[in-house]
Protein backbone atom coordinates (compact mmCIF):
# COMPACT_ATOMS: atom_id res chain seq x y z
CA UNK A 1 0.00 0.00 0.00
CA UNK A 2 1.16 3.48 -0.74
CA UNK A 3 2.63 5.83 1.77
CA UNK A 4 0.09 8.38 2.99
CA UNK A 5 2.46 11.20 2.09
CA UNK A 6 2.43 10.38 -1.59
CA UNK A 7 0.09 12.24 -3.91
CA UNK A 8 -2.55 9.71 -4.90
CA UNK A 9 -4.26 9.73 -8.29
CA UNK A 10 -8.05 9.45 -8.24
CA UNK A 11 -10.44 9.14 -11.18
CA UNK A 12 -13.28 11.67 -10.99
CA UNK A 13 -14.79 11.55 -14.49
CA UNK A 14 -15.22 9.13 -17.39
CA UNK A 15 -16.23 9.69 -21.01
CA UNK A 16 -16.38 7.47 -24.07
CA UNK A 17 -17.38 7.29 -27.72
CA UNK A 18 -17.24 3.71 -29.01
CA UNK A 19 -18.65 1.38 -31.65
CA UNK A 20 -21.13 0.25 -28.97
CA UNK A 21 -22.36 3.67 -27.88
CA UNK A 22 -21.57 7.36 -27.89
CA UNK A 23 -21.29 7.61 -24.10
CA UNK A 24 -20.02 5.57 -21.16
CA UNK A 25 -23.32 4.11 -19.94
CA UNK A 26 -24.52 2.94 -23.37
CA UNK A 27 -21.14 1.37 -24.06
CA UNK A 28 -20.95 -0.30 -20.66
CA UNK A 29 -24.47 -1.77 -20.91
CA UNK A 30 -23.62 -3.23 -24.34
CA UNK A 31 -20.33 -4.65 -23.06
CA UNK A 32 -22.08 -6.34 -20.13
CA UNK A 33 -24.61 -7.78 -22.58
CA UNK A 34 -21.78 -9.24 -24.68
CA UNK A 35 -22.69 -7.35 -27.86
CA UNK A 36 -20.27 -6.90 -30.75
CA UNK A 37 -19.69 -3.54 -32.43
CA UNK A 38 -18.12 -5.11 -35.52
CA UNK A 39 -19.81 -4.97 -38.92
CA UNK A 40 -19.07 -4.66 -42.64
CA UNK A 41 -17.30 -1.46 -43.72
CA UNK A 42 -19.72 0.75 -45.65
CA UNK A 43 -17.90 4.11 -45.61
CA UNK A 44 -15.63 3.26 -48.56
CA UNK A 45 -15.12 0.53 -51.13
CA UNK A 46 -13.39 -2.55 -49.72
CA UNK A 47 -12.63 -3.98 -53.13
CA UNK A 48 -9.18 -5.59 -53.17
CA UNK A 49 -8.70 -5.02 -49.42
CA UNK A 50 -7.72 -8.00 -47.29
CA UNK A 51 -10.46 -7.25 -44.78
CA UNK A 52 -13.89 -5.69 -45.20
CA UNK A 53 -14.94 -5.37 -41.55
CA UNK A 54 -14.44 -2.81 -38.78
CA UNK A 55 -15.95 -1.60 -35.54
CA UNK A 56 -17.31 1.84 -36.41
CA UNK A 57 -18.88 4.58 -34.32
CA UNK A 58 -22.48 5.11 -35.42
CA UNK A 59 -24.74 8.15 -35.49
CA UNK A 60 -22.17 10.60 -34.16
CA UNK A 61 -22.77 14.30 -34.86
CA UNK A 62 -19.65 16.47 -34.33
CA UNK A 63 -21.64 19.71 -34.67
CA UNK A 64 -23.25 19.05 -31.29
CA UNK A 65 -20.01 20.39 -29.78
CA UNK A 66 -18.42 22.52 -32.51
CA UNK A 67 -19.35 24.65 -35.51
CA UNK A 68 -19.56 23.12 -38.99
CA UNK A 69 -16.39 25.02 -39.84
CA UNK A 70 -14.48 23.54 -36.88
CA UNK A 71 -15.86 20.09 -37.66
CA UNK A 72 -14.37 20.38 -41.15
CA UNK A 73 -10.96 21.55 -39.90
CA UNK A 74 -10.62 18.75 -37.35
CA UNK A 75 -10.63 15.09 -38.27
CA UNK A 76 -13.04 12.51 -36.92
CA UNK A 77 -10.49 11.57 -34.25
CA UNK A 78 -10.70 15.05 -32.73
CA UNK A 79 -14.50 14.97 -32.84
CA UNK A 80 -14.55 11.77 -30.80
CA UNK A 81 -11.87 13.02 -28.41
CA UNK A 82 -13.71 16.24 -27.63
CA UNK A 83 -17.01 14.43 -27.03
CA UNK A 84 -15.38 11.93 -24.66
CA UNK A 85 -13.52 14.70 -22.83
CA UNK A 86 -16.67 16.77 -22.38
CA UNK A 87 -18.56 13.77 -20.97
CA UNK A 88 -15.70 13.09 -18.54
CA UNK A 89 -15.41 16.75 -17.51
CA UNK A 90 -19.18 16.92 -16.99
CA UNK A 91 -19.07 13.82 -14.79
CA UNK A 92 -16.25 15.43 -12.80
CA UNK A 93 -18.23 18.65 -12.36
CA UNK A 94 -15.71 20.53 -14.50
CA UNK A 95 -17.54 21.12 -17.79
CA UNK A 96 -17.32 24.89 -17.66
CA UNK A 97 -16.12 26.07 -21.10
CA UNK A 98 -14.26 29.36 -21.26
CA UNK A 99 -15.75 32.44 -22.85
CA UNK A 100 -14.15 32.43 -26.33
CA UNK A 101 -14.40 36.23 -26.46
CA UNK A 102 -12.20 36.65 -23.38
CA UNK A 103 -8.45 36.04 -23.15
CA UNK A 104 -7.54 32.87 -21.26
CA UNK A 105 -6.10 33.48 -17.79
CA UNK A 106 -6.49 32.24 -14.21
CA UNK A 107 -8.63 35.34 -13.56
CA UNK A 108 -11.06 34.82 -16.44
CA UNK A 109 -11.48 31.04 -16.11
CA UNK A 110 -14.92 29.59 -15.50
CA UNK A 111 -13.43 26.40 -14.09
CA UNK A 112 -13.92 25.90 -10.34
CA UNK A 113 -10.23 24.92 -10.12
CA UNK A 114 -6.91 26.63 -10.93
CA UNK A 115 -6.56 26.25 -14.73
CA UNK A 116 -2.76 26.45 -14.52
CA UNK A 117 -2.88 23.16 -12.61
CA UNK A 118 -5.10 21.35 -15.13
CA UNK A 119 -3.57 19.64 -18.18
CA UNK A 120 -4.52 17.31 -20.99
CA UNK A 121 -2.93 14.17 -22.35
CA UNK A 122 -5.66 12.78 -24.53
CA UNK A 123 -3.60 11.27 -27.31
CA UNK A 124 -3.97 9.70 -30.70
CA UNK A 125 -1.65 7.17 -32.25
CA UNK A 126 -2.47 7.74 -35.92
CA UNK A 127 -3.98 11.20 -35.99
CA UNK A 128 -6.43 12.55 -38.53
CA UNK A 129 -5.91 10.02 -41.32
CA UNK A 130 -9.13 11.27 -42.96
CA UNK A 131 -7.73 14.81 -43.30
CA UNK A 132 -4.43 13.48 -44.66
CA UNK A 133 -6.25 11.45 -47.30
CA UNK A 134 -8.57 14.32 -48.21
CA UNK A 135 -5.85 16.98 -48.55
CA UNK A 136 -3.36 14.77 -50.40
CA UNK A 137 -6.12 13.85 -52.83
CA UNK A 138 -7.02 17.52 -53.23
CA UNK A 139 -3.40 18.45 -53.96
CA UNK A 140 -3.08 15.63 -56.50
CA UNK A 141 -6.27 16.67 -58.29
CA UNK A 142 -6.15 20.48 -58.05
CA UNK A 143 -2.59 21.42 -57.15
CA UNK A 144 -0.84 22.60 -53.98
CA UNK A 145 -2.59 25.99 -53.78
CA UNK A 146 -5.84 24.16 -53.01
CA UNK A 147 -4.35 22.56 -49.88
CA UNK A 148 -6.06 23.99 -46.82
CA UNK A 149 -4.06 26.28 -44.49
CA UNK A 150 -5.76 24.22 -41.76
CA UNK A 151 -4.13 21.03 -43.05
CA UNK A 152 -1.26 21.17 -40.52
CA UNK A 153 -3.28 22.11 -37.41
CA UNK A 154 -5.84 19.57 -38.62
CA UNK A 155 -3.44 16.64 -38.71
CA UNK A 156 -0.99 17.42 -35.92
CA UNK A 157 -1.40 14.74 -33.25
CA UNK A 158 -1.39 17.30 -30.43
CA UNK A 159 -4.44 18.92 -32.05
CA UNK A 160 -6.55 16.63 -29.85
CA UNK A 161 -5.14 17.97 -26.58
CA UNK A 162 -5.07 21.51 -27.99
CA UNK A 163 -8.77 21.37 -28.89
CA UNK A 164 -9.76 20.19 -25.41
CA UNK A 165 -7.45 22.71 -23.73
CA UNK A 166 -8.92 25.55 -25.80
CA UNK A 167 -12.48 24.59 -24.86
CA UNK A 168 -11.75 25.00 -21.16
CA UNK A 169 -8.75 27.33 -21.17
CA UNK A 170 -6.52 24.69 -19.59
CA UNK A 171 -3.06 26.08 -18.82
CA UNK A 172 -1.27 23.06 -17.31
CA UNK A 173 0.83 20.51 -19.24
CA UNK A 174 -0.71 19.25 -22.48
CA UNK A 175 0.73 17.38 -25.43
CA UNK A 176 0.40 14.05 -27.26
CA UNK A 177 1.99 10.72 -26.57
CA UNK A 178 2.10 8.26 -29.46
CA UNK A 179 2.91 4.63 -28.78
CA UNK A 180 0.61 3.03 -31.36
CA UNK A 181 -1.85 0.70 -29.65
CA UNK A 182 -0.54 1.57 -26.16
CA UNK A 183 -1.16 5.32 -26.66
CA UNK A 184 -4.22 5.63 -24.40
CA UNK A 185 -2.61 3.60 -21.63
CA UNK A 186 0.65 5.53 -21.79
CA UNK A 187 -1.33 8.77 -21.64
CA UNK A 188 -3.07 7.64 -18.45
CA UNK A 189 0.21 6.46 -16.91
CA UNK A 190 2.04 9.66 -17.80
CA UNK A 191 -0.84 11.80 -16.57
CA UNK A 192 -0.75 9.92 -13.26
CA UNK A 193 2.99 10.47 -13.13
CA UNK A 194 2.53 14.22 -13.69
CA UNK A 195 -0.02 14.39 -10.87
CA UNK A 196 2.12 12.30 -8.50
CA UNK A 197 5.12 14.51 -9.30
CA UNK A 198 3.14 17.65 -8.52
CA UNK A 199 3.18 19.08 -12.05
CA UNK A 200 -0.63 19.11 -12.23
CA UNK A 201 -3.63 18.54 -9.95
CA UNK A 202 -6.05 17.49 -12.69
CA UNK A 203 -5.38 15.81 -16.04
CA UNK A 204 -7.82 15.02 -18.83
CA UNK A 205 -6.24 11.75 -19.93
CA UNK A 206 -6.97 9.03 -22.44
CA UNK A 207 -6.85 8.20 -26.11
CA UNK A 208 -8.71 8.67 -29.36
CA UNK A 209 -8.55 7.12 -32.80
CA UNK A 210 -10.49 7.28 -36.05
CA UNK A 211 -8.15 5.68 -38.53
CA UNK A 212 -10.41 3.25 -40.37
CA UNK A 213 -9.74 4.46 -43.90
CA UNK A 214 -9.02 2.65 -47.12
CA UNK A 215 -5.26 3.15 -46.91
CA UNK A 216 -4.91 2.08 -43.27
CA UNK A 217 -7.05 -1.01 -43.80
CA UNK A 218 -4.80 -1.74 -46.78
CA UNK A 219 -1.66 -1.20 -44.69
CA UNK A 220 -2.70 -3.30 -41.70
CA UNK A 221 -4.28 -5.85 -44.03
CA UNK A 222 -1.18 -6.21 -46.19
CA UNK A 223 0.81 -6.71 -42.97
CA UNK A 224 -1.62 -9.62 -42.42
CA UNK A 225 -2.67 -8.23 -39.07
CA UNK A 226 -6.42 -8.00 -39.72
CA UNK A 227 -9.19 -10.51 -39.10
CA UNK A 228 -11.97 -11.29 -41.55
CA UNK A 229 -15.48 -12.52 -40.88
CA UNK A 230 -15.67 -15.93 -39.23
CA UNK A 231 -18.42 -18.30 -40.39
CA UNK A 232 -19.62 -15.36 -42.52
CA UNK A 233 -20.18 -13.20 -39.43
CA UNK A 234 -18.22 -9.94 -38.89
CA UNK A 235 -19.21 -9.95 -35.20
CA UNK A 236 -17.33 -13.25 -34.71
CA UNK A 237 -14.04 -11.99 -36.13
CA UNK A 238 -12.51 -10.54 -32.95
CA UNK A 239 -11.91 -13.59 -30.76
CA UNK A 240 -8.97 -13.12 -28.36
CA UNK A 241 -7.52 -16.40 -27.02
CA UNK A 242 -9.83 -18.51 -29.18
CA UNK A 243 -8.29 -21.26 -31.26
CA UNK A 244 -9.62 -19.73 -34.51
CA UNK A 245 -8.34 -16.20 -33.89
CA UNK A 246 -6.62 -14.74 -36.96
CA UNK A 247 -6.00 -11.05 -36.38
CA UNK A 248 -7.52 -7.88 -34.98
CA UNK A 249 -10.48 -5.83 -36.14
CA UNK A 250 -9.91 -2.10 -36.67
CA UNK A 251 -12.04 0.03 -34.39
CA UNK A 252 -12.48 3.71 -33.67
CA UNK A 253 -13.56 5.85 -30.75
CA UNK A 254 -12.25 7.72 -27.73
CA UNK A 255 -11.93 7.29 -23.99
CA UNK A 256 -11.36 10.10 -21.51
CA UNK A 257 -10.61 9.97 -17.81
CA UNK A 258 -10.40 12.94 -15.50
CA UNK A 259 -7.52 12.11 -13.18
CA UNK A 260 -7.20 14.19 -10.06
CA UNK A 261 -5.00 14.33 -7.01
CA UNK A 262 -7.08 12.71 -4.26
CA UNK A 263 -7.01 15.58 -1.74
CA UNK A 264 -7.81 18.07 -4.51
CA UNK A 265 -10.85 15.97 -5.46
CA UNK A 266 -12.01 15.55 -1.87
CA UNK A 267 -11.62 19.27 -1.14
CA UNK A 268 -14.08 20.20 -3.89
CA UNK A 269 -16.48 17.39 -3.05
CA UNK A 270 -15.92 15.40 -6.25
CA UNK A 271 -17.01 11.74 -6.42
CA UNK A 272 -14.03 9.41 -6.61
CA UNK A 273 -14.72 6.58 -9.07
CA UNK A 274 -11.44 4.73 -8.60
CA UNK A 275 -7.68 5.16 -8.53
CA UNK A 276 -4.72 4.78 -10.84
CA UNK A 277 -2.54 3.12 -8.21
CA UNK A 278 0.37 1.89 -10.29
CA UNK A 279 1.85 1.94 -13.75
CA UNK A 280 4.75 0.38 -15.56
CA UNK A 281 6.19 1.39 -18.92
CA UNK A 282 8.73 -0.66 -20.88
CA UNK A 283 9.87 -1.42 -24.43
CA UNK A 284 10.66 -4.66 -26.23
CA UNK A 285 13.48 -3.05 -28.20
CA UNK A 286 13.44 -5.93 -30.66
CA UNK A 287 11.08 -5.75 -33.64
CA UNK A 288 8.92 -3.04 -35.20
CA UNK A 289 5.70 -5.08 -35.17
CA UNK A 290 6.23 -8.55 -33.71
CA UNK A 291 5.90 -8.76 -29.92
CA UNK A 292 8.68 -10.36 -27.91
CA UNK A 293 7.95 -14.11 -28.06
CA UNK A 294 7.95 -14.49 -24.26
CA UNK A 295 6.25 -11.16 -23.63
CA UNK A 296 9.29 -10.02 -21.68
CA UNK A 297 8.70 -6.28 -22.03
CA UNK A 298 5.01 -6.63 -21.20
CA UNK A 299 5.87 -8.81 -18.19
CA UNK A 300 8.25 -6.15 -16.88
CA UNK A 301 5.59 -3.48 -17.37
CA UNK A 302 3.08 -5.56 -15.38
CA UNK A 303 5.57 -6.25 -12.58
CA UNK A 304 6.53 -2.60 -12.34
CA UNK A 305 2.90 -1.49 -12.23
CA UNK A 306 2.13 -3.97 -9.44
CA UNK A 307 5.26 -2.98 -7.49
CA UNK A 308 4.52 0.73 -7.87
CA UNK A 309 1.03 0.16 -6.47
CA UNK A 310 2.71 -1.37 -3.43
CA UNK A 311 0.89 -4.70 -3.84
CA UNK A 312 1.66 -8.23 -5.06
CA UNK A 313 0.18 -10.21 -7.98
CA UNK A 314 -1.94 -12.02 -5.40
CA UNK A 315 -3.88 -8.77 -4.79
CA UNK A 316 -5.03 -8.48 -8.41
CA UNK A 317 -8.64 -9.66 -8.74
CA UNK A 318 -9.31 -8.97 -12.43
CA UNK A 319 -7.19 -8.70 -15.57
CA UNK A 320 -8.22 -6.73 -18.65
CA UNK A 321 -5.49 -7.76 -21.12
CA UNK A 322 -4.37 -6.15 -24.37
CA UNK A 323 -5.67 -9.28 -26.19
CA UNK A 324 -5.96 -8.12 -29.79
CA UNK A 325 -6.89 -11.57 -31.16
CA UNK A 326 -3.70 -11.90 -33.21
CA UNK A 327 -2.01 -15.28 -33.42
CA UNK A 328 1.27 -14.25 -31.82
CA UNK A 329 0.20 -11.29 -29.69
CA UNK A 330 -2.16 -13.29 -27.50
CA UNK A 331 0.48 -15.99 -26.95
CA UNK A 332 3.15 -13.45 -25.95
CA UNK A 333 0.76 -11.74 -23.56
CA UNK A 334 -0.27 -15.04 -22.01
CA UNK A 335 3.42 -15.86 -21.48
CA UNK A 336 3.83 -12.52 -19.69
CA UNK A 337 0.75 -13.06 -17.53
CA UNK A 338 1.81 -16.59 -16.64
CA UNK A 339 5.29 -15.40 -15.70
CA UNK A 340 3.85 -12.73 -13.38
CA UNK A 341 0.97 -14.70 -11.83
CA UNK A 342 2.23 -18.29 -12.05
CA UNK A 343 -0.31 -21.02 -11.31
CA UNK A 344 -2.55 -18.44 -9.62
CA UNK A 345 -3.41 -17.09 -13.06
CA UNK A 346 -6.09 -19.79 -13.18
CA UNK A 347 -7.91 -18.05 -10.31
CA UNK A 348 -8.01 -14.50 -11.71
CA UNK A 349 -10.90 -13.71 -14.06
CA UNK A 350 -9.86 -12.24 -17.41
CA UNK A 351 -11.98 -10.59 -20.09
CA UNK A 352 -10.98 -8.93 -23.34
CA UNK A 353 -12.85 -5.76 -24.26
CA UNK A 354 -11.57 -6.05 -27.86
CA UNK A 355 -13.68 -9.18 -28.39
CA UNK A 356 -16.63 -6.75 -28.67
CA UNK A 357 -15.20 -3.32 -29.53
CA UNK A 358 -12.48 -4.46 -31.90
CA UNK A 359 -9.14 -2.72 -31.59
CA UNK A 360 -9.55 0.99 -30.92
CA UNK A 361 -5.77 1.43 -31.43
CA UNK A 362 -4.73 4.64 -29.63
CA UNK A 363 -8.09 4.76 -27.83
CA UNK A 364 -8.07 1.10 -26.79
CA UNK A 365 -6.19 1.42 -23.49
CA UNK A 366 -8.35 4.34 -22.38
CA UNK A 367 -11.72 2.73 -23.18
CA UNK A 368 -10.56 -0.57 -21.69
CA UNK A 369 -9.39 1.21 -18.54
CA UNK A 370 -12.87 2.71 -18.25
CA UNK A 371 -14.41 -0.78 -18.61
CA UNK A 372 -12.00 -2.05 -15.96
CA UNK A 373 -12.81 0.76 -13.51
CA UNK A 374 -16.56 0.25 -14.01
CA UNK A 375 -16.10 -3.48 -13.44
CA UNK A 376 -14.33 -2.84 -10.13
CA UNK A 377 -16.84 -0.20 -9.10
CA UNK A 378 -19.95 -2.24 -9.91
CA UNK A 379 -18.47 -5.58 -8.85
CA UNK A 380 -19.31 -7.03 -12.24
CA UNK A 381 -16.95 -7.56 -15.19
CA UNK A 382 -17.97 -7.73 -18.83
CA UNK A 383 -17.52 -10.98 -20.73
CA UNK A 384 -15.05 -12.01 -23.42
CA UNK A 385 -17.08 -13.14 -26.42
CA UNK A 386 -16.33 -15.45 -29.36
CA UNK A 387 -14.45 -18.06 -27.38
CA UNK A 388 -15.71 -21.33 -28.83
CA UNK A 389 -12.56 -23.22 -28.01
CA UNK A 390 -9.75 -21.78 -25.91
CA UNK A 391 -6.38 -21.96 -27.69
CA UNK A 392 -4.40 -24.85 -26.25
CA UNK A 393 -1.56 -22.52 -25.20
CA UNK A 394 -3.81 -20.74 -22.71
CA UNK A 395 -4.22 -23.58 -20.26
CA UNK A 396 -4.25 -21.44 -17.10
CA UNK A 397 -6.43 -18.64 -18.44
CA UNK A 398 -9.72 -18.09 -16.59
CA UNK A 399 -11.56 -16.30 -19.37
CA UNK A 400 -14.96 -14.95 -18.33
CA UNK A 401 -17.26 -15.88 -21.21
CA UNK A 402 -20.25 -14.29 -19.47
CA UNK A 403 -20.56 -11.17 -17.33
CA UNK A 404 -19.27 -12.16 -13.91
CA UNK A 405 -19.69 -10.93 -10.34
CA UNK A 406 -16.23 -10.06 -9.09
CA UNK A 407 -15.35 -8.59 -5.71
CA UNK A 408 -11.94 -7.15 -6.45
CA UNK A 409 -10.05 -4.16 -5.12
CA UNK A 410 -7.32 -4.13 -7.77
CA UNK A 411 -7.28 -4.86 -11.49
CA UNK A 412 -4.49 -5.03 -14.03
CA UNK A 413 -4.85 -3.37 -17.43
CA UNK A 414 -2.15 -3.98 -20.06
CA UNK A 415 -1.43 -2.59 -23.51
CA UNK A 416 1.25 -3.20 -26.12
CA UNK A 417 1.84 -1.29 -29.33
CA UNK A 418 3.63 -1.67 -32.66
CA UNK A 419 7.16 -0.50 -31.97
CA UNK A 420 7.39 -2.72 -28.90
CA UNK A 421 5.88 -0.17 -26.50
CA UNK A 422 4.31 -1.67 -23.38
CA UNK A 423 2.29 -0.10 -20.61
CA UNK A 424 0.45 -1.66 -17.67
CA UNK A 425 -1.80 -0.02 -15.10
CA UNK A 426 -2.99 -1.11 -11.69
CA UNK A 427 -6.49 0.34 -11.26
CA UNK A 428 -8.11 0.37 -7.83
CA UNK A 429 -11.69 0.48 -6.64
CA UNK A 430 -12.67 3.60 -4.71
Amino acid sequence: MKSSRQRRVAVTGLGAVTPLGNDVQTTWAALLAGRSGVSLITEFSTEKLRSDIAASVKGFDPTALMSAKEAEIHGRVNHFALAAAVEAMRAAGLDHPRDPEVATSPETTRLPVDPTRVGCLLSTGQGAVDIFEQQILKSAERGPRSVSPYFIPGVMLNGVSALISMRYGLMGPSYNIASACATGTHSIATSALLIEAGEADVMVAGGAEAATRMNTVAGFGNARALARSVDGAPEKASRPFDKRRQGFVMGEGAGALVLEEEQHALARGATILGYVSGFGMTTDGEHITRPHADGLGLRLAMSRAIARAGITPGDIGYINPHATSTTHGDVAEYAALHAVFGERLAEVPVSATKSMLGHLLGAAGAVESIATLLGLREGRIHPSINVDELGEEFVHLRLATEALRVDARYALKCSAGFGGHNCALVLERA
Partner: protein, 80 residues
Protein backbone atom coordinates in the same frame (compact mmCIF):
# COMPACT_ATOMS: atom_id res chain seq x y z
CA UNK B 1 -10.59 36.76 -67.88
CA UNK B 2 -13.17 37.28 -65.17
CA UNK B 3 -14.46 40.81 -64.54
CA UNK B 4 -14.80 42.44 -61.11
CA UNK B 5 -18.40 41.30 -60.69
CA UNK B 6 -17.56 37.68 -61.48
CA UNK B 7 -14.62 37.76 -59.09
CA UNK B 8 -16.77 39.25 -56.32
CA UNK B 9 -19.34 36.48 -56.84
CA UNK B 10 -16.59 33.88 -56.75
CA UNK B 11 -15.23 35.38 -53.52
CA UNK B 12 -18.68 35.25 -51.89
CA UNK B 13 -19.30 31.69 -52.99
CA UNK B 14 -15.87 30.42 -51.85
CA UNK B 15 -16.01 32.38 -48.57
CA UNK B 16 -19.43 30.85 -47.82
CA UNK B 17 -18.10 27.41 -48.53
CA UNK B 18 -14.97 27.94 -46.40
CA UNK B 19 -16.60 29.65 -43.42
CA UNK B 20 -20.00 27.87 -43.58
CA UNK B 21 -22.04 31.09 -43.51
CA UNK B 22 -23.51 33.63 -45.91
CA UNK B 23 -21.43 36.44 -47.43
CA UNK B 24 -24.25 37.72 -49.67
CA UNK B 25 -23.96 41.27 -48.30
CA UNK B 26 -20.27 41.66 -49.20
CA UNK B 27 -19.42 44.51 -51.56
CA UNK B 28 -16.06 45.67 -52.99
CA UNK B 29 -15.97 48.24 -50.16
CA UNK B 30 -16.32 45.59 -47.42
CA UNK B 31 -13.32 45.76 -45.08
CA UNK B 32 -11.77 42.29 -44.79
CA UNK B 33 -10.96 42.57 -41.07
CA UNK B 34 -14.60 43.41 -40.40
CA UNK B 35 -15.91 40.25 -42.06
CA UNK B 36 -14.88 38.08 -39.11
CA UNK B 37 -12.76 35.78 -41.26
CA UNK B 38 -9.85 34.11 -39.49
CA UNK B 39 -6.42 34.73 -41.10
CA UNK B 40 -6.06 31.05 -42.02
CA UNK B 41 -9.56 31.00 -43.48
CA UNK B 42 -8.65 34.06 -45.57
CA UNK B 43 -5.66 32.16 -46.98
CA UNK B 44 -7.95 29.20 -47.66
CA UNK B 45 -10.24 31.50 -49.65
CA UNK B 46 -7.28 32.91 -51.60
CA UNK B 47 -5.99 29.38 -52.33
CA UNK B 48 -9.39 28.25 -53.58
CA UNK B 49 -9.68 31.34 -55.81
CA UNK B 50 -6.18 30.78 -57.20
CA UNK B 51 -7.01 27.14 -57.93
CA UNK B 52 -10.36 27.99 -59.48
CA UNK B 53 -8.94 30.75 -61.71
CA UNK B 54 -5.59 29.15 -62.45
CA UNK B 55 -3.63 32.18 -61.21
CA UNK B 56 -0.87 32.56 -58.64
CA UNK B 57 -1.12 35.44 -56.20
CA UNK B 58 2.36 36.13 -54.76
CA UNK B 59 2.70 36.87 -51.06
CA UNK B 60 3.55 40.54 -51.69
CA UNK B 61 0.09 41.04 -53.21
CA UNK B 62 -1.50 39.87 -49.97
CA UNK B 63 -0.01 42.48 -47.66
CA UNK B 64 -1.91 45.72 -47.08
CA UNK B 65 -5.16 44.33 -48.44
CA UNK B 66 -7.93 46.37 -46.81
CA UNK B 67 -11.10 45.65 -48.73
CA UNK B 68 -12.52 42.80 -50.74
CA UNK B 69 -12.22 45.13 -53.73
CA UNK B 70 -8.46 45.37 -53.11
CA UNK B 71 -8.19 41.57 -53.28
CA UNK B 72 -10.32 41.38 -56.41
CA UNK B 73 -8.14 44.03 -58.11
CA UNK B 74 -4.92 42.17 -57.28
CA UNK B 75 -6.34 38.93 -58.66
CA UNK B 76 -7.57 40.68 -61.78
CA UNK B 77 -4.14 42.24 -62.36
CA UNK B 78 -2.49 38.81 -62.07
CA UNK B 79 -4.94 37.42 -64.63
CA UNK B 80 -3.99 39.98 -67.20
Amino acid sequence: MADQTDLLSLFKSIASHVDKRSFDDVTPASVITELGIDSLSMMQIVGEMETELGVMIPDEDLVDLRTVGDLVSKIQARQA
